[in-house]
Symmetry: C2
Subunit: 255 residues, 2 copies
């Protein structure tokens, strides 16, 4: 199973600590990794088809504190599609003058949608097909970037079609919000004042967020499995869709 | 003026040496840099809004020998558009299930095309507008990926429209070919058997390509100004469009 990591914050925040926790799990997920950072409308993506344990690109991401308001990361264990750069999540497309970033953990069976519009897969994964179909259907549903609530409503209509084909734990962001959809495993957490220390679940690494944050900071983290041992992670329900804006979880939409 | 670097080869090749030469020129081009590497259909892009002289991302690119068959790099001196990540070249879009990468050096005046299709700028540069317009017009001209010769013919029809608005030195690649269009400054070079040593024009750094290559290797390099002091660079003529495939320059198309 792949591992997902998402971050949504009300102030540009680095994910060095959480990414180190994710990369620690790359032993069993050796088929590449990727991470995308929004900086306002801008985006930078780092991908490698080597494991996040050994990749020099992952090493850079762990050490270079890139401050971002929306992050999506993925470490891959291939289920469909070869181990190749074009099959490495997250995937990126442009719609309505905004970049959209998507990563998926799960396995869709017999999902061969009609892709008749401007979004075509470059690689051969079920995940990129699903993303292209989502973008196509969003483009049909709205003429330009709608509000986060409207996008959540449209996604809630579209996601059951994907969920019917298998497991679909996924993260999506356009730099304004982070959407998380759970099918089997996805957990979230909000870090806010008063900040405390936290310890990675898989590694003897702690960080005292109180010394790194301002009282007004609010950071939502979403991950396949809880990354820390001592924080109140919330498990998402099967079929749940939740948007995070400025570190605040919206009420769940039925998905 | 920005600086461009392109590479097209018949075998995956790293550009550490040429990128080091380009980054050396980043003193006057401090408004960010970017580099995109095709690996077959896959793509990875590194961008930073810090100068390539000091950026940790540029440091990684200089040291990590990423083997690629098509590379486009750009170091930026902002003329239009703020210094921001969304204005950092190269720009990427997907068309016909292929990634397309574009970088531009020049300045287009009053180029405000009707962008009525699926390609919209995310940032506010003349360069990204020009790229979106090119993608829109290519999508209208062909139903799926045409041959390199057909694409060159379509580009030759489209490029004078851009050239009429100002200087347009640009590099474009879809992973199958590298197109170079010159308006003011662009030079190219093919490295092939028998390989020799070369010395960077700006730095006391030499490399002996004979020890790093196979006799069958063929590598075309395109750059704003010759990067090495001791190789036979060819200056492109104003308006010239040239495609490079597997390290071989096609005859120029009128542009």
């Amino acid at each position: 199973m792949c591992q997902l990591l998402g971050m949504n914050a009300n102030t540009p925040t680095d994910v060095c600590f959480s990414f180190a926790g994710l990369a620690r799990r790359a032993d069993e997920h050796k088929d590449g990794f990727g991470i995308a950072f929004f900086e306002d409308r801008g985006l930078r993506t780092f991908v490698d088809h080597h494991s996040a344990r050994v990749s020099p690109v992952a090493e850079l991401v762990k050490r270079y504190p890139i401050k971002s308001d929306n992050v999506i990361a993925h470490i891959r264990k291939a289920t469909q599609g070869r181990v190749a750069l074009e099959n490495t999540h997250p995937f990126v497309r442009e719609l309505w003058g905004r970049y959209w970033v998507f990563a998926h953990n799960g396995d869709l069976k017999r999902f061969e949608p009609r892709l008749h519009a401007a979004f075509r897969p470059v690689g051969d994964t079920d995940s990129e097909r699903a993303f292209c179909w989502l973008m196509q259907e969003l483009a049909k549903a709205h003429a330009s970037v709608p509000s986060v609530a409207e996008l959540s409503a449209t996604l809630a209509e579209l996601l059951p079609t994907l969920g019917a084909h298998g497991s679909f734990n996924a993260l999506l962001s356009n730099g304004q919000a982070l959407w998380a959809h759970a099918s089997t495993h996805l957990h979230w957490l909000v870090r806010q004042h008063p900040f405390r220390a936290a310890t990675l679940a898989d590694e003897d690494l702690s960080v005292d967020f109180a010394s790194l944050t301002q009282p007004s900071d609010r950071i939502a983290i979403v991950a396949t499995q809880p990354l820390t041992a001592d924080e109140p992670w919330v498990a998402m329900a099967p079929g749940e869709l939740r948007a995070f804006v400025a570190g605040v979880p919206a009420p769940p939409s039925p998905g």
